[in-house]
Symmetry: D2
Subunit: 366 residues, 4 copies
């Protein structure tokens, strides 16, 4: 099992490399009869795509998706949906100098030792470009979850490098390239990024993601707990080094009298749980955060070795995101959506149709 | 897929409830010909078992394991190994008062809404007691990894509630009930716990876990990345709300010039990666941390509702760990061992035998 | 993936060896809320168990099943159901002479070369005794399918060695040890078996199995077709060498005008398909047959080799079924039930609740 | 789990419909470093493709394969290999008349009831056209098995409708469109087919397939037995209704003294087992047969119903194989190759490298 399929009932099997002819995926298990066209998928692909501001990679990709199967006369048929995205702006010669060396922080070293061979062009399979097909697949999951349960997804950047970004309003998020829920901090973020680029350096980010109107009862008691699956999904995104659900690491210093969310006839009084108890969704919002490391591809020279173990210095040119976290919000939403979709189908299998949270959950506990 | 099987090639399928007749598991995929007896398994079970200090639950379980299959004349045969642990100290009447109510922070509410039925005795399937079989299964994985690659596992508590525990030496860990790598702080930890118990409250903890002498090349490029699988494994432990690999959430504020581990002819110069690059092991130590929430079962009365939605107050008596993190270290080691074992076999399948890190990794980078 | 788990949503993971302390299984994915006790499971175990006539092995096993988990106050909870059957009549010394030799037709040779070690006592894991847990698991599936859809299972022996057994009536089946649907042929079958035993020889059998009131729409278009899964399930039973669905090998000589089942407003006019078209159930009866080879354990001396490749003669004593087909009918039913159960849940996951065949299917086409 | 992925370690996930824009697959788990180009794959695709004689469908498809990923500088990299085959000769209007009706023997009825929607163009996903990607994927498996173990695959038609085809020599097989291993019978086969076409009828076929130089020890003891997996693989091919391993249904009338293959210092003395004992390969040839039903698409009018249950008559025009068995031999080889490839990797995972049959197996026992 090469691990290249996400999910158990709603599955996404991807293929492709950063500078190969195409990337894409096969989606299995989509319920039949849902209206679906490329336009439904393109929206999220466009939110993720490169080249849309000066703070991200300048690689130009339209990321135009083609549906190859599984849709007939505008509706899903229940059979596999294949998505194809042709790579348009490969510049493999940018990477000629790295075929014999291992870039610090990159997968070069590990791929080489695992496989004895690697595709060095743009990181090959380890490129964050491979998040595009999964964002496409998740757009289908999001559509189904919205239609069935009213479930929605949103996310924002809550920290850029050393700058914490206080939450103001979700309304700001679509209006800036950082997915910041705070408008007044934007000049500071831009100056920070400009500075980084000037210095040939990069930074990390923290991303928060939320699912609303989540059915109650999703997740399995042991192993495939909903929170375990979310951790797997988010930690599997390129460059992620940490994942939190609900109160996350703050739970360590909390007391039991503080952490455990009380229940009232109107619903939960708080949401330290992040919408998951015992591995199963409570019907509250699912809240999760992830830590993204600074981009490894930087212009500053760094110590490394070549394939023969000789010391070298590596500077990485080519086109790179100085903070991969900037484009990570739609990816985090996508992974969360795939987990919920998969577990919605799993719940139907064993327990029949799911419930959307039965007692009204007051806004205060979300 | 009910998600009750951990792993893909070395798999653990568990069964049982906290107060049922027995708990156990079936382990598939163990390589044949390894010397194995109950004694190899009992050691880690004893490290995890309840009742060994005043700071943990006083439930008395010997956790004696019986091997039901898969071993012939003291060696594994390659066929399924079944482990059986009889429950000995059930006191189901302790839990009579909770069958109609939902305890804050517990899985009562979610199980009820998912299944329409739940076993309320000691939390049923959601009890941390169900980590015993997996610790048993992991003892087999640890033995094989040690014999094949010299891989070893260790862990410690690095924070108890509000008290950070500075690392001093691994030697202290087996000599105190907290798995603390610091001896001088023990009186403070004990006083903290005594205070909590007196107040009918509970606290969280942070656990660090490390694997040494890890083969290089374990993990898959996409989805089943080694770090994603570790996140899944650790977040799946009862009460865990956050997981970090390597620098974890500290990565957010790091610069690329700081985070990316440089390579030298003698190996990596640092280990912010936590031993994983691009989802694949580097041969350095694997380092991970997890946040454990405060125990939900406390004697302090809390607001909740019963099955009919009426408001009630809940106090939880019975026997409980005032900090479930205290016994969590061997569980974290176990989950990490299962992930590495599984990926060692997966590596063999696709790429042939694994390499233990080829250039010597200096101690400084571990 | 050691392949020791049957099914994808309703899964059975078995353990044990013929002469180990116990055999059993873990059943995952059972819907919650179904009334279940050991008695529901024991009935089919008793139909399969040894020692019930002179024509089968004289090993005495009560095959008493214990439910270890997953049932609370007489109802399934949705969590794993573990079944345990203690072995009671091991006589390992019967098998002392075979540890160094390979018995013709047995798995001795292949286990030895695969694993480098094998449990020789009664065939170890390769014994047909391991069909007991799966018959137990299938009893749960049968109960659920009956309650949900009215689905029932039945089977009979249609050939014993050279003797074809013309079908007369299902009513005869429970009244004779051969599962023969023909009463008048019983003296002939008994004489045939007595003769075989006298000659130290064995024979094969053909078993037919039928599922009635099958929901329409079970099975997947490609790979996990319902008929492919049935073939996998039946061919996986010990000693099976051939599987047919519907018209089976007779299809080869049929014309398209004869084979393709016509439809009428009252349903299908015939059932050459065996209830499966394009891998998906039609709502007609599922009909399948399997060929069982003659028992390999016979008293007649045969040529073989020992572990060092030296020629030897092997006679097999101990207790054996002279025709393993005689007890195979409930096993075939069990495997068919497990396939349908699994696909009923899979159907629910992707397409919602299943339909029991919408237009009435006339009896003539069943 | 929609069941659309074949295999567990070497996996093939397909997509596409008969008259959609493209068909293809994603292959996971291929070992790295193997020389591979489109030419390696095209050979078997050409053996399977339509339009090569008057006895098969006249649809013109070049079945030109494009490798989209997983190969770098002519070698496999260990990452997913995607194959794309554009459909070139769709004539969807041929099928306009069948959107409202169910053709006897076809999947129309079952797809409709399962999904509530179906792609009627050329059978959509149920078309045998979907065997093309799997033949492509299997060409990769065949290449690896040949290079590693010398394993080879061959097959032939052993019966066409009522005409048994006595085996003469494998040399004849590539020289006639029927994959007949008998040259003198060809005029009879051609006349039979011409007659069928004239009468607007169709016929079935029996296909034999053989793997040579098979490693010993492939297959798992329970459930994923090698023969069970072969049965699954072959029964999953379009139109197959029966599968045999080794002596198959002839085993029923055999005695134990006849069936069980004796061993000598030179190897097995016969091969009734078909190369599998206890679910594990013996190192002998794997031999299997399958029964293919007559094509359901015939010009002769047949009774059926429309979607509303009204009686209608159906004649099927368009382009169809009058015997789908004629092109089935390379498909059967492909499925057998995929099973062996998967189990070769599974064996490596648990037991390390496989052995090619240690004692020489004399030709007589193959």
């Amino acid at each position: 099992m090469s691990g290249n399929t996400f999910g158990t009932l709603f599955t996404v099997t991807t293929f492709g490399e950063s500078h190969g002819p195409a990337i894409g995926c096969v989606i299995d298990g989509c319920p039949p009869g849902m209206v679906l066209s490329e336009a439904d998928i393109q929206f999220d692909l466009d939110r993720r795509k490169p080249g849309t501001s000066r703070h991200v990679t300048q690689r130009q990709e339209s990321d135009t998706v083609e549906i190859l199967s599984g849709v007939f006369e505008g509706k899903t048929t229940g059979t596999p949906i294949a998505l194809l995205i042709r790579n348009e702006d490969q510049r493999s010669k940018d990477y000629g100098n790295i075929t014999e060396t291992f870039r610090p922080g990159h997968a070069d070293y590990t791929y080489w030792h695992k496989y004895g061979i690697r595709d060095p062009r743009g990181g090959g399979r380890s490129s964050a470009r491979l998040t595009a097909p999964v964002v496409g697949a998740a757009a289908i999951a999001k559509k189904w979850l919205l239609e069935q349960y009213g479930t929605t997804f949103k996310g924002c950047m809550s920290q850029l490098g050393e700058i914490a970004i206080p939450f103001e309003s979700w309304e700001h998020v679509p209006n800036n390239p950082f997915f910041s829920a705070n408008a007044s901090i934007l000049p500071q973020l831009e100056a920070y990024m400009d500075d980084l680029r000037k210095n040939g350096d990069s930074c990390g980010a923290r991303i928060d993601v939320v699912a609303e109107n989540v059915p109650i009862g999703l997740g399995e008691p042991i192993y495939d707990k909903l929170d375990a699956e979310i951790a797997y999904a988010l930690m599997g995104i390129n460059a992620v080094k940490g994942v939190e659900i609900g109160a996350g690491f703050k739970s360590v210093a909390q007391k039991g009298t503080e952490h455990g969310d009380e229940l009232t006839p109107d619903g939960f009084a708080s949401n330290n749980a992040g919408g998951v108890l015992g591995g199963i969704s409570t019907g509250q919002n699912i809240t999760a955060s992830m830590a993204i490391k600074p981009t490894s591809s930087i212009r500053t020279a760094r110590h490394s070795i070549d394939k023969d173990g000789h010391p070298i210095m590596v500077e990485t040119f080519g086109r790179h995101d100085p903070c991969v976290g900037i484009r990570a919000t739609p990816i985090a939403e996508a992974m969360l959506a795939l987990v919920l979709m998969d577990h919605a189908l799993r719940h139907r299998a064993q327990c029949g149709d799911v419930k959307v949270s039965p007692p009204p959950i007051p806004a205060s506990s979300r």
